[in-house]
């Protein structure tokens, strides 16, 4: 499935296999994500919460009571851990973008993508490939231009908001092209090794 791209594959630019890095930090991020998601879905989470250590528990409680979660909870409609699979053309050739929103909420005609970060927010959110892909995908999926993405730092309780911009699709195409080139080069070398 070489024509399906994720934010990660576009970011690293190549489709080379990576060793799977997991450490305490990434694990912690997963836990906050999971809790947020369960909470928004309406599961009973007291038991899950009891699994947190003291520090995490403090962070979590603050997050749970934050405005952003209240905003999410009281939306007209919410899509939690919602995946997308979007087709786009690159010249004549189609390519696909795949990924998963942490959450998308709707107030009236306005859609907001919510993305939880454990700590660091994107440095250049407007140009961040995730912003481009997510807002573009949501616009296609929900058939609207009234889209924004909010990055939220759970630990620092900070937010960054970026609205959808029509030009994002061009930037995505450039990234895809770049990735294609690199992966082509890589495939060339693999087949060389194989036949040698």
């Amino acid at each position: 499935m070489k024509d399906i791209y994720s934010v990660n594959s576009l970011k690293t630019g190549k489709k080379q296999p990576e060793f799977a890095r997991v450490n305490k930090e990434t694990k912690r991020g997963d836990i906050f994500h999971a809790l947020t998601c369960c909470y928004l879905k309406g599961f009973q989470i007291e038991k899950l919460e009891s699994a947190l250590n003291k520090d995490d528990s403090t962070v979590w409680t603050a997050h749970k009571n934050s405005g952003i979660l209240k905003f999410a909870l009281s939306a007209d409609e919410k899509f939690i851990e919602y995946s997308f699979f979007v087709k786009e053309n690159n010249g004549k050739k189609p390519f696909y973008l795949a990924g998963r929103f942490d959450a998308v909420v709707r107030y009236g005609k306005n859609y907001t993508i919510l993305d939880w970060k454990t700590r660091n927010l994107p440095k250049n959110p407007k140009e961040d490939i995730q912003t481009l892909v997510y807002t573009f995908a949501a616009s296609k999926l929900f058939k609207t231009d009234s889209i924004e993405i909010i990055y939220y730092s759970i630990e620092e309780q900070k937010t960054v908001t970026v609205p959808y911009s029509i030009g994002c699709v061009e930037k995505i195409r450039i990234a895809v092209n770049k990735g294609l080139k690199e992966s082509l080069m890589q495939w060339g070398s693999v087949s060389q090794i194989a036949s040698g």
Binding site: A20, Y82, K87
Partner: protein, 1257 residues
Amino acid sequence: MLLYGNLNSDKTKILMENYARLLNSGVSAEEILVVVQNIKMKEKFIEGVKKHLTVDALTKFHVYSFFGLCYNFVLEYYPLLENQIDFGNAKVLPNLCGLEVSRRIFKSAIDKLVFKGYNSKVNLLHQLLRRQSLITLNALTEVEIAQKTRILSESFTGEITDALNLYKQKTLELRAFDYLRQVQLFSYIYKNVKNPYKYVFVDDADEITPAFFEYLKFIKDDADFFIAYDPKGSSRKGYLCACENNFELFLNETPVILEESKMADEIFEKIRARGNKAAEISSAAGCFQIELSNLTQKDFIRSDMMVDTVVKEVNSLVNKGVSPGKILIVIPVNDEYLKLFLNRIEAPVNFITGSEKIEDNKTVSALISILKLFTESGNYRISPYKLKGLLVQIFKVDLNTAVQISQDFEADFGAGNLFEILENYKETGQIQKFLELDIREKPLSEMLFALAEEFVERNSQNTAKINGLLKQIRDFEEVFEDGFSKKELLNQLENTIIAENPLEDDELIENAINISTMQKAIDFKIKNKYMFILDTTSQNWMKQDIGPLYNAWVFQKGWIKRDFTLKDNILLAHDKIARSLRKLYLLNEGEIRAYSCVYNFLGIENFKGIKHFFTPQIPNVAPEFKIIPRPDQQPVLDYKNGKLAVMAVAGAGKTTILLALIMKLLENGVRAENIFVLTYMDSAARAFREKIKTCYPYLAELPNISTIHGLSMRILRENNNHAYLGLDADFDIIDETGRLKIISEILYNEGIEVSKVNFCEKTISAYKNSKNKNFLKPLFKRVFKEYQRALRARSLIDYDDLLVLALELLKQNSKIREYYQNMAHFIIEDEAQDSSAIQQELINIVSRKSGNLIRCGDVNQAITGTFSNSDTEGFKRFIKNGPNCKMNRTARNSTGVIELANRLIKRGLELSGSSFFEIETMPVAGKNIVDPAACTAKIFDKEIREKEFVVNKINEIFAVEKNVTAGILTRTNKEVETWAHYIKNTAHYRVTTKNGLLSNNFVYRAVLSAFNFIANPMNNILIADFAKTMMELGFYADDIQIFDKLKKTPAFILNNNDNFAIWWDLRYFLELTALPPYELAFKIGEFYFLNDKKRKANIAPVSSIVAKIFNAEGNFEDTLNKMNDLAKKSGDSRLFEEEEEKSNGQNEVKILTLHKSKGDEYDYVFIPALNSKNLGLAPDDIKLNESAKIIQNIYNLNKTDDELKCEIIDENLRLLYVGITRAKRKLYLSCAGEYKSFSTMKKANPSFAFKLLRRDL
């Protein structure tokens, strides 16, 4: 929608179109579930759907394998589960882990429980996991499990339930769920949440398990179904738990019937029909055979010959422009050696074999060793062999430095801090980088990650394997936190199969030749134009999975019978292979080439398999075998039925006539599978098989030719009969060294002198063979029980058990007994005089129904040891009590030799009435050399005079004659060595010894010699040894100056000596130490013997000997020690005869023991050292030892000392008879007045034989 179609039909395409149609019409992808067979099919499905999509934005495809569906459900609904578990520590996320965690949980459960009658803990763990798998995938209820347990009448039901409950409890407590537990949780979840799916698509619904079908049933009323089903599919029946389902009834719908294949369905029907016949225990031979127009069959004797042809043909196809991806090679089982041989294919190759041991990937294996260095620091003694390998492979250290480092490391033995040593070599390779890694305090997974990032090349193979390993380790860290030993974990990981192979789709090379097991080829639907099916006579094609704790058939959800019989097993096994072969056939779009061989790579004979399902291609060539029988041989060929004893004198042509009889039976229409031939030695069985195969190459099955132990092994293995004895499927026969080791340990623990080990071994054997089941002494009883317990714990049996257990099965299980009785229309036994009482009982039972039993032998050549278990009296009774014929003529010996042999029998009978069977050997008119003076007897004063006499005589003969062989027959193996040494130093003709020692095998010697060097590369003496050995084997003739060079150049291998081929080759081997030793052994064997037609056959068997030792010893160095020991022991029967025929006109001396000479013949025979010690014929000559007496007691014979002595004398007489009758022309008997024994000279008296044989007496 219900579609019926096979894998070539459009069923999947129709499903894709319908799925796309729903999506295009605006149905959310979240409302549609698609379940396909595996990840590969999932990707294919999504790829196919993409083409039909008109909408350009969708949410997630819910396309899953069944296990993927379960996994996602557990993740999605985890809070529901967590809220139900009221013990252990809560978790936000469950640990969805691999089987390694479960293994550890099971292990602690087993440690707490005692399984009565089930001793092998290694297998217990494995079997428990399998049972858990059967219970889960078949969605069995408590009641169903109890029913099945009753059917199987298991003695350890309670313990199994306890173990499974402990495991369940513990997984909940730890929130650690392997894929089977995920299936169980899934079935809880779907019953307790709202069904999210409005539409459900199932492709390959014939391969689904009951666990999945239960789910479909549960959501039946809430969803629309799109199901593609193959009514003759379900190839994953049995241990993979596929079930047939009536979807017409389930959906209340008439199926749309898509494309069918008549030929494929015929395969299905016919194999099943054969199964029916076989289950009725009537012969299915020749019935229902399948004729395929696109099938070519070829037959080979050895598997290396078969693979040579395959490699050649595949290479030629690729050279002709066939796309490699269109070639599929199907193998019966994941075979290491097949892989190694097939590496010679000159195109990219994928091995799709299902599973892989972690040690098989050398990068992963090296990384684990490094992790061990960190976690055990000073305590871990890394094998210097392994160290060299990883220095070169991982740290890119040059070979010389790698050798230096491991040398330093070895010298530092004890203190052994590798890190300190490495400090001295900072500047080489990537050592500095390694030493600077600050990971010692980190969790294991992070250590591994850091190492991989720094030192491992990223490619799809490495990354997939290492990520798999990372996941396993992280699972442990997550689940057990600090409560596990890193050392134990690393050991566990090293020893278990952790990875599916391939782990991920991108591990596979595109457009490469696929080499796959049958199941994987089917699962991945590997379409092909050229399909090679290898080893079609391997029994692994129809391997059945039943065993203690584990019976895939009875544990099927739909099992309704009240019992499980042999018949069920045969029917179901045929049903499964019928389904699989049908699917395999459908994958092919061109031609099929099916190749068989008589022996597999390890030298073990194949039997059964799938070849006999297909109509053989009979070549238009008449059999080559012709014989004109002599009148004394004629009665054997006239044999029609009933019992017949054939008493044949030495050289009467017994083997030839038996072969002729077998051929005649075959030509008269008797099916090969109905003929059983039993030989005393494996080599004889091989000779029979090869001759018959040469005459009838197309025979789907050869007659059943084996030793009695081979037959017993078959009885235990065939149809998984071993399960009735509570033996695991992987039971093995203990070898002699292993047996002695176990007994020594027991003796040591009991405080008994370990020197008694040989005596003890004999006693155990005698005890097992005797009917006397009263223990002699409490002490022996303890030793015996401990011995049996030790064997069982390792899932081993010994050679005596083999017979005893086979007999037990035949006696106790009427179905098994009938199975063999119905099959054995004719039994032909060779060397019947050496049969033990148990063997005779076994043969009697098997032949009872047909009554057709031919026993052939020579009572006068019964020399297998008075105190062995042979029972010559049994054969004598058989001769006496029924029809018999005497083959009393021989053309072999000259008249003088015949006269002497007859005289020996006559005088021997006068000396002892029980020594011989009275028979007079007659010459064949006009055939024998007439030479009244053929025999000479000489007595010398000194040993050296005797030796000179023999050598001078040989020189004299060889000076005038061409193309003759002289045999020197000795009493002991040690004498063989002494004579060989003496003659090689004084003469210059071809001298071969037949001592049966492993060191005589060329391949073994080459490997051993190279290994000795690798263990100690700086030692020039070992290089000289290597050079000498290899030159003896015919290599490196140009390197003769190396010996000089070795004397002058210390550390030869590290200096530049590139003018010697040996230097290059040894350095090449040295660089390969990243390989496991058995693979290196294979490479060395291949390096030297690949183009040697005969010796090539031993490359794989020798490598397998190394593998077996390595598996037991765990490291190269101990393996090597054991190999050096073994070299002095007798060889392995699986090794192929590699002796070269002497070229025409050449003279040769053969040196061997009298015992080993049986069956051979030489123009000139020398029997030296015939003194009273070597061949005592008077009571005073014989010294009885303690063990002889005790063993007699076991047999309850209570013989007096005089009687025992008499038996030894009898056998000595027969031994002499064997020796004498080897001589075609002349015979020389001699002895000397004194012999060297160790360093002193000892007086010796001539044997009484000299007097006994005097003509004038």
